[in-house]
């Protein structure tokens, strides 16, 4: 998917207090990698999975006394949608770059610390991949950096 045609949009409103459900919902939306289009309006490229993910968040919003509606939409202005896609891609790219930088920095650490870092960074890559809707090129570089770190370990003596 290089450019999303159809988007699934969640328009939601939650009471300001208590603030816990609001921040819980926002954390979940962040983890999904949504584009924020406005106050209480977020979007994801539409597929059955993203649609379901936003449906359950909508349910959570209504469970907490808020209002939520889901929409399928298509941008009329392709420039504006490129800006949105660019913003989503840049956010994911920055996350990948942080992983790659950390993998590079860990190369001089001792073996035990390297092994822990490999396990942690692989999990982190998996998380980022879940919100990488436009197959950001930095992903491949980050994966290579982590696997290079892992290879440094298996090349040495096994314990």
């Amino acid at each position: 998917m290089n450019q999303a045609d159809d988007w699934v949009l969640l328009a939601y409103r939650l009471p300001r207090v208590p603030s816990t459900p609001r921040s819980a919902v926002w954390r979940k939306l962040k983890r999904l990698g949504v584009a924020q289009l406005g106050d209480g309006l977020v979007a994801l490229p539409a597929d059955p999975r993203t649609r379901e993910q936003l449906e359950w968040i909508a349910e959570e919003v209504t469970d907490h006394g808020g209002e939520a509606t889901l929409w399928l939409g298509r941008p009329l202005d392709t420039n504006a949608s490129s800006v949105v896609v660019g913003r989503m891609t840049a956010a994911v790219a920055a996350e990948y770059e942080a992983v790659a930088a950390e993998a590079a920095a860990m190369r001089t650490a001792d073996a035990a610390a390297r092994r822990r870092a490999v396990a942690r960074l692989r999990r982190e890559l998996h998380r980022i991949q879940g919100r990488d809707f436009f197959t950001c090129p930095q992903g491949e570089a980050a994966r290579r950096a982590v696997e290079t770190l892992a290879a440094a370990d298996t090349a040495g003596a096994r314990t």
């Binding site: 983890r31 059955p48 379901e52 909508a58 349910e59 959570e60 469970d63 879940g130």
Partner: protein, 145 residues
């Protein structure tokens, strides 16, 4: 009894269907309407927005169903609940390494299934095996060989 869920079943719906047929209603009949309004009269909806057997309090539908059916005292089912939760939501609330594999297998299966009934026929065998494996592991404290 009739039970209704959304078409294109994935891990949470497949697991709920298995739970219903194995522990609640051996003659369960499953239908797959696209939204709550299209549910046939008398059918119980599950894993659909607005259904009691859905995602509530951060839990997936399978976990909600365990409690609703009074099956939450079975430690093997509770453990399977953690796996389904991670496979469906991946929010790292539970430690369930099997979740990632289960998610991929069932997603792949739905790509080649002829129908949702076809998917459920296969996943029901999978969950029978997962239940047995989990039960034995809990009994002996080790994964069965």
């Amino acid at each position: 009894m009739k039970w209704a869920t959304r078409p294109g079943v994935h891990v949470d719906r497949a697991a709920c269907a298995w739970l219903i047929r194995r522990f609640i209603d051996p003659d369960a009949e499953f239908v797959f309407p696209a939204d709550l309004a299209a549910i046939p009269a008398g059918a119980t909806p599950f894993d659909m927005r607005g259904a009691a057997l859905g995602h509530h309090q951060g839990r997936c539908s399978f976990e909600t169903a365990l409690e609703a059916f009074g099956l939450d005292d079975d430690p093997a089912l509770e453990e399977i609940g953690h796996i389904i939760h991670e496979a469906d939501l991946a929010d790292e609330r539970c430690d369930a390494p099997a979740a990632a594999g289960l998610d991929v297998l069932i997603r792949g299966l739905t790509l080649t299934s002829e129908s949702d009934h076809d998917t459920l026929a296969i996943t029901s065998r999978l969950f029978d095996g997962l239940y047995e494996h989990t039960r034995r592991q809990l009994m002996t404290g080790r994964p069965p060989a």
